[in-house]
Symmetry: none
Subunit: 217 residues, 4 copies
């Protein structure tokens, strides 16, 4: 009698649903949301077209589901990455690295979240992406904490700073995703530079006030 292994992991309870989601990520990434055919996704998942509609209301629901479920995973990873770090500077760096690490390890998903999701009118216009706000909220909290601790400047609006930081990461992400030669891009280094900019700014430290007196002989 075949014993199931002492339930270490629950067996893929919903094999088909999972396969559909994964296939959809691939197809959306490859062909774009609008051009993706439901039947392509079904083929990719090795199910019948109609099966998709047992699990998802329609094609767009599938896209939004990818966002919801994958963001949840990403949020968990982010929390794990920041765990134990208290210094805002450390947390900021870990945040940026986690963002880019996710990107590198799941490029198709990244493509979907970065590009395709925005093709959904409903997502961009009507949907309130709670998970995205949680994601940003982690950064915003980090800034507020840093301000409270006196480590970060009080005169900067945490809300603006958060969007600016996210925008910077996001733009670089998009460029990386779109870049044909992704190697040209060092994501880790990019993460560090962005953090560096946001921490210290672009300005060169004021040179030790060059002796004002002219070099007149």
């Amino acid at each position: 009698m075949a014993l199931r292994p002492a339930a270490s992991e629950p067996p893929p309870r919903n094999d088909k649903r999972e396969r559909i989601v994964e296939a959809a990520i691939e197809v959306f990434a490859e062909k774009g949301f609008a051009a993706a055919r439901v039947s392509d996704i079904a083929k990719g998942a090795n199910v019948a077209d109609g099966t998709i509609y047992l699990y998802f209301r329609n094609k767009e629901d599938l896209l939004l589901t990818i966002f919801e479920e994958k963001m949840e995973e990403i949020l968990r990873d982010l929390d794990a990455a920041l765990e134990g770090l208290v210094d805002p500077v450390d947390r900021m760096r870990a945040y940026a690295r986690a963002h880019f690490h996710q990107l590198r390890t799941h490029p198709a998903l990244a493509q979907v979240l970065q590009i395709e999701l925005r093709q959904s009118t409903r997502f961009v216009r009507q949907y309130r992406p709670e998970r995205l706000w949680q994601y940003l909220g982690v950064f915003e909290a980090l800034i507020r904490d840093g301000q409270a601790a006196g480590r970060l400047r009080l005169e900067l609006d945490p809300f603006l700073a958060t969007w600016a930081f996210f925008g910077a990461l996001d733009e670089l992400s998009i460029q990386w995703v779109l870049a044909r030669k992704r190697d040209r891009f060092n994501l880790e280094q990019a993460a560090d530079q962005v953090v560096e900019i946001f921490l210290h700014g672009l300005l060169a430290p004021v040179p030790p006030s060059p002796p004002v007196s002219p070099e007149v002989p």
Copy 2:
């Protein structure tokens, strides 16, 4: 015999073409690129459907044309805004303000450039947006100049810094475009804060090195 007035201003050489472009901006902004019907644009421009195809290859070409032509205007405005400013800091501030000023004065166009343009698979994937690079190039040059002049830190990659800065502006732009209550957002202030962050960073200035406790002998 009707004489044309002594060409003081070039007569609106192509009235219809212009009307189509403007109508397209409005319709794309309102309904989104995918949902916008060519016949809606034609109606808005007061021309027949077929007329659009005398001036544009297809619907997407119309979108790309909006990008090309409007970016050209925007670039001219940007150049004008930076004219005479030499200090990288001044130029950076003027750049951000010009960016947001454009946004406020042409919200429908902003909506199209920020949101709808990205719905075009071709734009995002195949098109080489030369004009966008010019736009970014102005900022990149500014950084290189600042570095050369010793005003900006040399260890930062101008390319990364440019994308990061543009991403920050862009993200805030999107949020402003999508925000229902746009008043809640002060664009001028946002511009200054973003520049402030990129110049000085988020870190609070190191407190004037609290007397390190004297090297008491």
Copy 3:
């Protein structure tokens, strides 16, 4: 331990089958044959979708079964209603009343037999509704008997008369079924009037031949 009552009545030998038929009548009547989903019927009958196919070949077979089985009941009722009546006039009146009584007491079934059944291409075009002919045959026999007995006019084709009578009843039935305010309609009175028309016709009796001779003094 729950004992079944000493089989006074044969236990509903096929509970499920019966429930499916009744549910189908309700669903067909409410949503129409075409719009009725098999799963709706299954839900109404509290069985699984697949169970329906253990008892019926397909959805249309279910409709035809309703016709067959219910017509059988209706025929029994009709026979009972005419039992003992020999005079063609009495039988005709009883026939019409039974027709409309059935209508009033089983409106959902009436809706199905009157309206939905005709939506079935197969029923209308290919099916030879034996039971319907039996139903009509009762009337036709009644006419032939009446003719044989000298009570009814010989020059009228019993076949045509039967269809005409049935058509009259049927049209009034449809109107009653479709009428929102069914009360406005008195079915018993309608039955009597239809019979009256078919018995005596619409013509006013010739006035007692007004004394042909002029009232000349």
Copy 4:
């Protein structure tokens, strides 16, 4: 050289629309409304599928349009057939003959109006078939006039009588339409018999009161 008649009738102003209607009648009659494919109709009319939607909202609209427009023609023909006839009996006979004449001369249309139209949920349940009421109204008025003139019995409800008469005609029409061997059916004769029944009823005239047996002393 073929001269067009001095613009007596406007040339078929909308060739395509007309062709679509005629093709739809044929296809609906042949395959039934539900089974009729829009592309079949388009093919029959020698137009592209999409062209149908320039003239009709959808497939059902096409069906209802057939009803509306053809009933209008039929009503005109009916009026013409009754023109000049004043006696209710004459009018009744002409009505029945016109009904069946229409049937014989346009069997495909008859099939659609008799059978397919009833397959349209919307027609049967929601639509108020004004044209049908006009058609019936002609008969109802005829009865009222006859009653007013003392020719028809006052105690019969004109409304019921109308539906009964229409039902009789309609049922015979359906049988004729469905009959494979239509010849077996003599429509003119059927018309006359139905009228005969509705005028005089089925009852044999009371035999000249057989000498009630002599008043034997």
